[in-house]
């Protein structure tokens, strides 16, 4: 039997035993729901993934999009597959009933889309970016803009992009040069070049709604002079029908290492005098609005990375159970049959590492979805504020940790399979290539580490930082009297180390060169990320322990034992790494800072 895409038992464990998603039905917005409707939505997500995307997964990878100078050509099977997602109601299940949604809680939405994301992470990007785009316009656009652009995007008629990066301004957005000139009718004429625009051109939809960052003529330098514009591929007639082509041209496609389901484009705006553009909100506040979409996209990136890791793990696990090779060291009899490679302890080590990385990462992303829900629908204002504070703080970790350790899990999936993992008869090498983008886009790991240490930690008098520490300390206290007290103590010691390190490094910013102090910010992010994942594993361990106490069925008992073993793996093999990272940070290790470009 072929490997399963994801473990449904694990999905159910995370949703119902770890995060108690059923309790959400007590909220008015979700009153019509029950575990039955949640499970039905998840079943449909799986069915669409297996029917429409799994059969074309490799084809999408081996047939990258082409550009003939006029149009983009995609694998023809992509369009009907995406249409099936929209028709099944899986594009935006969390939206209101009135707009065709299912009012599904975000944590359940995440699970319902999990199989799709695991099988078609990048192809699905057309749809997920469209809805993130629509969510931004809904939050910051005018009523007219919502009516004009959001509705057709929700219906699947239009698709959306986010256009930020320029040839000379990627991570350094402050230097972007695309400009917009105000016209007498209130619209703008926009011109400039954008690159790495995912889904920037295709024939999948009637229209494409670009959200473009640009500078209004005369705006201040730096990020304070950036505004946000809606720039459609086709202008609309008075009656809303598709009109003439806007001054947006496809300059070319990029050939990517992976992620071939989603075009990456170079777009030229205003080559014929200026693209018609509509300002979102107020001038010079564009970056703030764009963060609405970027924060959402960052959680999407983490989730995609985690799911690609999970599906690679499932594939390698299945292979390791089936593939006979070698004998145990103690067995010297060449006549005895070779054993499945999973019988070798080192293969189990690599599978355990994948399990610890992937299931830790996905649990963190589901926690992020839960917070995103709580900040809107929790009963009390206090609970909503707390969720907002936690999510805002955790965003760089939710984006980065899965993105860094997801590819590492895929790397180990290849290693488990040896030479068979390195060839395209099996998908694990593709998973690795697909996943390798994730530490890069939506803010690189370096950028995220500066965001965490420089902004998120000290922000609002350490509100997010403190709230997160309090959450983790709370779990430590709960676990202390239990079977898992040794793990609780390890986490507590790690939390003390984190607090000390944070105090030392932030105090140093007052005295030393900022670039020196922050030169180990990635180590700080690594340390914080590992502690958060240890915390989420302790929570999984507690849920598994509770499951074991309830006299479970044999298969469930094995499942819970596996959870506890993966938690132990993380605490024994991964968590101690934080002491190495913390030393670099608190010693203000100057090795990288002092290295001169000429010494290379």
């Amino acid at each position: 039997m072929a490997a399963q895409v994801l473990s449904e038992r694990d999905l159910a464990f995370m949703l119902y035993e770890l995060f108690d998603a059923e309790s959400l039905t007590a909220r008015q917005r979700y009153a019509d729901h029950s575990r039955e409707t949640f499970d039905a939505a998840i079943a449909t997500g799986k069915a669409v993934a297996l029917k429409h995307f799994l059969p074309i997964r490799q084809k999408v990878d081996t047939n990258e999009p082409t550009f003939d100078g006029e149009k983009v050509h995609l694998l023809p099977e992509i369009k009907p597959a995406l249409e099936a997602v929209v028709e099944a109601g899986l594009a935006a299940p969390s939206t209101d009933y009135e707009t065709g949604g299912m009012q599904l809680p975000l944590i359940v939405t995440n699970a319902a889309q999990a199989h799709l994301s695991a099988v078609a992470s990048t192809t699905l990007g057309y749809i997920s970016l469209t809805h993130a785009n629509a969510n931004l316009i809904e939050a910051h656009g005018s009523d007219e803009q919502i009516d004009t652009w959001v509705r057709p995007m929700r219906e699947g008629r239009f698709m959306g992009t986010m256009a930020m990066t320029e040839p000379g301004a990627g991570s350094g957005l402050a230097d972007l040069t695309t400009t917009a000139a105000r016209e007498s009718d209130g619209s703008y004429r926009l011109s400039g070049n954008k690159i790495f625009i995912s889904g920037g051109d295709h024939e999948l939809s009637e229209n494409i709604v670009h959200l473009v960052l640009a500078r209004v003529k005369g705006a201040p330098k730096g990020v304070k002079g950036i505004s946000l514009f809606i720039v459609p591929k086709f202008l609309l007639n008075e009656d809303g029908t598709i009109g003439e082509r806007n001054d947006v041209a496809l300059a070319g496609l990029f050939h990517k290492m992976g992620g071939r389901g989603h075009t990456s484009t170079a777009l030229s705006f205003g080559e014929k005098g200026g693209a018609t553009a509509y300002l979102v909100g107020e001038e010079n506040k564009g970056l703030m609005y764009m963060f609405h979409m970027m924060n959402e996209a960052r959680i999407m990136v983490g989730t995609g990375a985690a799911l690609t890791a999970l599906t690679g793990y499932q594939y390698a696990l299945d292979y390791a159970r089936e593939r006979p090779q070698g004998r145990l060291l103690a067995n010297k009899d060449p006549e005895s049959p070779p054993i499945p490679i999973i019988e070798h302890a080192d293969v189990r080590r690599m599978l355990l590492a994948q399990k610890a990385y992937a299931e830790g990462a996905y649990a963190l992303c589901l926690y992020g979805s839960q917070l995103a829900d709580d900040e809107k629908t929790a009963e009390t204002k206090e609970a909503r504020t707390k969720a907002h504070t936690l999510l805002d703080f955790l965003t760089p970790i939710i984006k980065t940790w899965p993105s860094e350790y997801g590819p590492q899990a895929n790397n180990l999936a290849i290693q488990v399979m040896g030479g068979h993992g390195y060839i395209n008869e099996h998908p694990v090498e593709m998973f690795y290539r697909d996943n390798r983008l994730n530490p890069i886009h939506e803010g690189t790991t370096g950028i995220q580490s500066l965001d965490l240490l420089g902004r998120k930690v000290p922000m609002n008098n350490f509100a997010g930082y403190r709230a997160m520490l309090a959450e983790m300390h709370g779990t430590v206290e709960q676990a202390k009297g239990s079977e898992l007290s040794l793990f609780a103590e390890q986490l507590q010691a790690a939390l003390s180390e984190l607090q000390e390190t944070t105090n030392i490094v932030l105090a140093a910013t007052a005295e030393k060169d900022l670039d020196l102090v922050f030169s180990n910010s990635v180590s700080y992010l690594e340390m914080f990320g590992h502690i958060v994942i240890a915390w989420i594993w302790l929570r999984q361990g507690m849920a598994a322990d509770a499951g074991l106490q309830a006299n479970p069925h044999k298969q469930d008992e094995q499942f819970y034992r596996g959870k506890l073993q993966a938690m132990q793996y993380f605490f024994h093999s991964e968590l101690p790494k934080i002491y190495h990272w913390s030393k670099l940070v608190r010693d203000i290790d100057s090795t990288s800072f002092e290295m001169k470009p000429d010494w290379f």
Binding site: D32, E36, T37, T44, G89, P93, M102, L104, H553, K554
Partner: protein, 249 residues
């Protein structure tokens, strides 16, 4: 035209089932349950008939414990209009199910009854035929194609020698084979709409049916494990083993 569709709650086809330790039955504690795959095909066929304008109402019926409502609602999400749940915790054997269905056929007067040819748990392949005998309605079993026209239904049956097409006067009973259609999945908004569709609850007693089992399960055990093969040294050893161990010559 009213169509009555029967659906059975069974262990999901992906689950590897095991007998209970005491050998009394299959262990279904905590395992995933779904609509029997053949019944799913029956629901799909009814929904397609409705989409073609042939059927006007689809009534879905399931029998068994309270949780059977899940399978009824799944069918409602796929396109059935209303449900009937014959609720009982008793063990239901094909004859009891056929009797209940017969009572419902008398009550609802459907022109077409569509059901799976068998369920993947019992593998009996009896209920449709029994219902045919009890109700006196014509039956087309193992259907791989169904066409309704002019008060008749043409059912193409998968039989050993190939395909056989029978023409039945309505009302009639059709049991589905695997190749009849490919069932759809429920669209998310339809899952919520299904919750607002009516489901009537009745008991076997309400239908005047005694569901007491007529056959008794003596023991449930897993199939014998296959023994590993061995190498024989020569032909005479092979012949000796075939004679005395395998006892095939």
């Amino acid at each position: 035209m009213k169509v009555l569709v029967a659906v059975k709650r069974v262990v999901d086809y992906n689950v590897k089932v095991r007998p209970k330790a005491d050998g009394s039955d299959v262990d279904i504690a905590n395992v995933k349950m779904s609509i029997n795959p053949f019944c799913e095909i029956a629901v799909e066929e009814a929904v397609r008939l409705k989409e073609k304008g042939v059927a006007s109402e689809i009534v879905v019926v399931s029998m068994g414990p309270k949780q059977c409502q899940e399978q009824i609602r799944t069918a409602l999400a796929l396109g059935a209009d209303r449900g009937i749940h014959v609720e009982t915790d008793a063990e239901l054997q094909p004859l009891a199910v056929a009797k209940c269905l017969n009572a419902l056929v008398a009550k609802e007067s459907p022109e077409l009854v569509i059901m799976g040819k068998q369920s993947i748990d019992g593998d009996n392949n009896q209920t449709g035929q029994m219902l045919g005998a009890l109700s006196g309605l014509p039956q087309g079993t193992f259907a791989s194609e169904v066409n309704v026209a002019d008060g008749k239904v043409a059912v193409t049956r998968e039989v050993d020698g190939g395909l056989q097409t029978v023409s039945l006067s309505l009302p009639a009973i059709v049991t589905t084979d695997l190749r009849l259609n490919e069932p759809r999945y429920a669209k998310l908004p339809d899952i919520m709409k299904a919750k607002r569709k009516p489901v009537e609850n009745v008991s076997p007693e309400d239908l005047g049916v005694d569901v007491a089992p007529r056959t008794k399960t003596l023991k449930v055990e897993p199939p014998a494990q296959r023994q590993a093969g061995i190498k024989v040294s020569d032909v005479s050893e092979l012949v000796e083993k075939l004679k005395n161990e395998a006892k095939v010559i």
